[in-house]
Amino acid sequence: MKTTFEEKDGKYVMHFEGRLDTAASVQTEQEMKVLHNCEGHDIILDCAQLEYISSSGLRLFLALLKVAKAKGSKVSISGMNDNLRQVFAMTGFTHLFEFL
């Protein structure tokens, strides 16, 4: 599991690559902390290279969403594969995020 952070056109973008399972979520949680300081920046989670997510990963996305919303930042997700879409649909996460 690998993440890459960049600031692009004033937005905070994080690219996810690999499997975000419970084992990986500990490290990914640390890496996502940079996104929590998002005052004045919308956030894009680029999941085009994300192969898998379990509830540990969903938890990180929801925690970020709560923080960002409170700060007035939008959180959008781009490039999810069918497997991820299925997990988001089943858990009701499809209603929570915007999708690009």
């Binding site: 499997r19 399972d21 419970t22 084992a23 500990v26 898998y52 379990s54 509830s55 540990s56 969903l58 938890r59 929801l62 925690a63 969403l65 709560k66 919303k69 069918d82 497997n83 299925q86 997990v87 089943m90 858990t91 009701g92 209603h95 929570l96």
Partner: protein
């Protein structure tokens, strides 16, 4: 970790310790069972998700923090489908009695946890818990059309 597989009989077994860093080994195990059973990538992902959630639940809650414990996973493939049995010798805990998650709530009201067993239920056709001879035993079944 120990692993014993027998493709001729369609039965597999894996033992992990209560360390979530061993989850990738569970993933490899489930992939092998699903490939043998002929599941497509979506169904294989669903089985991985169900097994990860159920096993992480045991790794996280069955044993007191800082003590070592084990979780045994066995799998069986036959004409009716797949059966997974997850057992541990930790404190008695029935995950099937957990409350349903309300997936329609807005972000502000959604709880950060509680999705694990919900996903197991969604993914599987039957989830059965029993406590027997000092062991928690969770049996997950998935019917497949073959």
């Amino acid at each position: 970790m120990s692993q014993a597989n027998n493709k001729n009989t369609g039965q597999w077994a894996l033992t992990l310790s209560n360390n979530v860093q061993e989850i990738p080994q569970l993933n490899a195990f489930v992939d092998e069972v699903c490939e043998f059973h002929g599941l497509d990538p979506m169904a294989t992902m669903e089985m991985n998700l169900a097994l990860e959630e159920a096993v992480v639940n045991v790794m996280t809650y069955a044993y007191p923090e800082g003590t070592k414990g084990y979780v045994d996973i066995s799998a069986q493939s036959d004409n009716s489908g797949l059966k997974f049995v997850i057992s541990d010798s930790g404190k008695p805990f029935d995950p099937t009695t957990k409350e349903e998650v309300d997936t329609t709530l807005p972000a502000e009201q959604r709880e950060i946890g509680g999705l694990g067993i919900f996903l197991v239920r969604k993914m599987m056709d039957s989830v059965k818990y029993e406590y027997k001879d000092g062991h928690n035993i969770l049996t997950l079944k998935k019917k497949t059309n073959q």
